[in-house]
């Protein structure tokens, strides 16, 4: 079954480790729609979060391939039902005095906050699950989106389990 799954990786933050991971993703033809990397909070390690499209076989193959990279120490699926996955977006929307209040009212239902007021635009910051962010974008597109930047997904498993365990 084709679906989207979130995979967390723990890797030594040696130079080039991101290249090794992305090069393998491209070489093996994996279809990803988000990849984020940041310090893992453990000395010398990075944590990467990948959202991958594919069936269970593809995900299994992805994890097995990732674990062949010498610097990758862990690779696990984060089950959707038992993890929290969030991302942040900055989004700049066309706006003039006529629709300014409508836009602000609309974005407030997404807990988006206005971070900049331009002459012909409004810039909001919002965070949420990928589907919440998708919904916000859809709501704002009729006004004309000038530009936007999404961070990609950060995700952790619920409860006491940790990737490094």
């Amino acid at each position: 079954m084709e679906n989207k799954q979130i995979i967390s990786l723990l890797a030594h933050n040696h130079p080039g480790v991101l290249l090794r991971i992305t090069s393998l993703i491209s070489r093996r033809g994996f279809n990803i729609d988000s990849l984020t990397a940041s310090p893992a909070g453990i000395e010398g390690f990075s944590r990467l979060t990948v959202r991958l499209s594919g069936d269970d076989d593809k995900v299994e193959q992805f994890i097995n391939q990732m674990l062949k990279i010498v610097d990758v120490k862990k690779a696990e699926v984060l089950p959707e039902e038992s993890s929290v996955a969030m991302e942040l977006i900055l989004i700049k929307v066309n706006s003039d005095s006529s629709n300014k209040n409508d836009i602000i009212a609309l974005t407030s239902t997404y807990h988006a906050s206005l971070v900049n007021l331009g002459e012909r635009s409004l810039t909001f910051r919002a965070s949420g699950t990928p589907s919440q962010i998708d919904a916000l974008i859809e709501e704002l597109s009729p006004f004309g989106i000038l530009e936007m930047a999404r961070t990609g997904i950060a995700a952790l498993e619920n409860g006491d389990n940790c990737l490094a365990d």
């Binding site: 290249l19 090794r20 070489r27 076989d57 299994e60 097995n64 391939q65 674990l67 990279i69 010498v70």
Partner: protein
């Protein structure tokens, strides 16, 4: 003790038990070669004509000894010339450590003379690679490189070392490498489940590959096959991992495999895959491969499970251990009827030879004549193309590590370098290289190396004056439009050999084959035999790409 980086390299090679390295000097490795000069009583360096030849030689050394091959090259073009050799080793899971020099740290990233990002270039064709920017890290990186190359699924590792690091001095403390056993990752219940499938199978077969050779698991495989009475098919990488003379041995499987292995694959109810990876040259049609069979896969690399063909049972771990354990779980079974059926199919596989010709020798005849003069310990090397397939079909291998061929990458020009490495690694053993005129033209410069070190290699050039394998595909699939495959070059390989100081001989047809080969084998010197075969000779049978045994071509023109 205080040593410079180059001496540390030499000491670390000795720690790993390396006695022979292959390579070519240059500006960025001057310090390393200065150390090799000093250590020349303990480390033999074989100088190739071209870095590619050195990389293939390290590969041949590794395949025939089971040890890690080592190759050294300078920065820039020296390093890029290794790439084909590294990629060849990578595709066939051959352990290799490639050491390249680079420009000094202060010149890196400035497009300096002979600077290249070889780590970037070799990223997809190495298990791992390193650039060592600090001499204090050097010893441990080298140790780690050998560990990576030789552990799990083996393969090449590259270490790039800027020139200043090879000259910088630091404290070196010797270390003895610790051997770590490969873990068996599968649970007892998984062994039991696989064993149940084997015990209940009526028509089981074994499909083995290079993993059997790589993990030295030939004894365990033999014991398993005999206990379960399973007929054995092999990929060309697995040749030698199971004795060809054994009653259970069917031969090679896949595009140019025998009729019986194809029929067995289609009609069996269980395929036990041992150290093989269902490449497209074996499982042409992934969906239909073993269509009536359940599949068990034993492999050291978990990523091979369900990669190309979906398996029903998998056992992950070193084959020596997993095979031995699985053998304990299975019942002693007989499959007389099934094996009789396989033998019946095998009769159809016995290829009839083409009529005698005054102008040409027949490749099968030559291969059998060579086999009659070799013993089971002699090493056979090939290049890539028709001759390679004929040898894989016809030569009867009895023991592992007597066979070097580029299976995965299909590297024309591989053979002579690999033969040099095999001969250097196995003094006293006979090495025979079968090559074609196309492959031999690519890297025959290594004849200079053969002569320099007096390596008694017998080189049989099956010379059809065409690029036979590609031409065969043009015949079958491109309406006989022989685009660039009919060069009909006039090269006289015997004369070429003489120019390099190597004895040259000629075989005109089947009648003089035995006599010429006997004379070649009697001399203890390197020999090149230019052996004329017909340009219209084909490799048969053939399963067209993407197809199954039902579409097997057994006759052409």
């Amino acid at each position: 003790m205080q040593l410079n980086g180059s001496e540390i390299i030499a000491e670390c090679l000795l720690e790993q038990g390396v006695d022979t390295v292959f390579g070519y000097p240059g500006g960025a490795v001057l310090n390393i070669y200065d150390a090799l000069y000093k250590y020349s009583d303990r480390i033999t360096h074989i100088l190739s004509s071209h870095e590619q030849g050195a990389a293939h030689a390290a590969d041949g050394y590794a395949r025939t000894t089971g040890k890690c091959g080592v190759v050294i090259a300078t920065s820039g073009p020296g390093a890029t010339n290794l790439v084909t050799g590294i990629a060849t080793a990578f595709m066939d899971s051959i352990p290799m450590v490639a050491i390249t020099g680079n420009v000094s740290n202060d010149l890196l990233a400035r497009d300096s003379f002979q600077e290249v990002d070889i780590c970037g270039i070799t990223l997809p064709v190495t298990k791992h690679n390193f650039i060592v920017k600090n001499v204090n890290d050097l010893a441990n990186v080298i140790r780690k490189a050998f560990r990576i190359a030789m552990s799990g699924r083996k393969g090449p590792v590259l270490i790039d070392i800027p020139k200043d690091v090879t000259g910088a001095v630091c404290e070196y403390t010797p270390e003895t490498p610790v051997e770590t056993a490969e873990p068996v990752l599968s649970e007892d219940s998984e062994f039991q489940a696989a064993a149940n499938a084997i015990n209940n199978a009526k028509r089981p077969m074994i499909y083995m590959g290079g993993g059997v050779v790589s993990s030295d698991a030939e004894k365990q495989l033999l014991a398993f096959a005999e206990k379960t009475d399973c007929p054995v098919a092999t990929s060309i990488m697995g040749l030698g991992g199971f004795p060809s003379s054994h009653r259970l041995f069917m031969g090679t499987i896949g595009m140019h495999g025998g009729y019986e292995t194809g029929k067995a694959t289609d009609n069996c109810d269980l395929i036990i895959t041992v150290g093989a990876r269902f490449s497209d040259r074996v499982a042409g049609d992934r969906e239909k491969f073993g269509k009536n069979a359940a599949i068990i896969q034993l492999d050291i690399d978990k990523a091979e499970i369900n990669k190309n063909v979906r398996t029903d049972y998998s056992l992950v771990g070193d084959l020596k251990d997993t095979l031995a354990k699985l053998t304990e779980y299975v019942d002693e079974i007989k499959h007389d009827e099934w094996n009789a059926q396989v033998n019946e199919w095998a009769k159809k596989s016995e290829v009839t030879e083409t009529p005698e010709s005054e102008d040409y020798a027949h490749p099968y005849h030559i291969i059998e004549a060579v086999r009659a003069l070799t013993d089971d310990d002699d090493i056979i090397v090939t290049d890539v193309g028709q001759h390679q397939m004929w040898v894989s079909q016809k030569y009867r291998f009895e023991k592992p590590r007597r066979w070097c061929t580029s299976g995965g990458l299909g590297t024309m020009g591989y053979g002579l370098g690999a033969a040099v490495g095999s001969a250097a690694a196995n003094p006293g053993k006979r090495v025979v290289l079968f090559t074609g005129d196309g492959s031999f033209h690519m890297n025959l410069n290594e004849l200079a190396t053969v002569r320099s070190y007096d390596l008694p290699i017998i080189i049989v050039v099956l010379n059809n004056t065409v690029l036979g394998m590609v031409r065969q595909w043009q015949k079958l699939f491109y309406g006989r439009r022989f685009s660039q495959t009919d060069p009909h070059r006039k090269t006289d390989f015997a004369a070429v050999a003489e120019a390099f100081g190597v004895r040259g001989m000629r075989i005109k047809n089947d009648d003089d084959a035995e006599e010429v080969l006997k004379a070649a084998f009697a001399s203890k010197e390197p020999v090149v035999i230019d052996c004329r075969i017909s340009p219209d000779e084909n490799v048969l049978p053939m399963i067209p790409p993407g197809k199954t045994v039902d579409d097997m071509i057994t006759e052409m023109e």
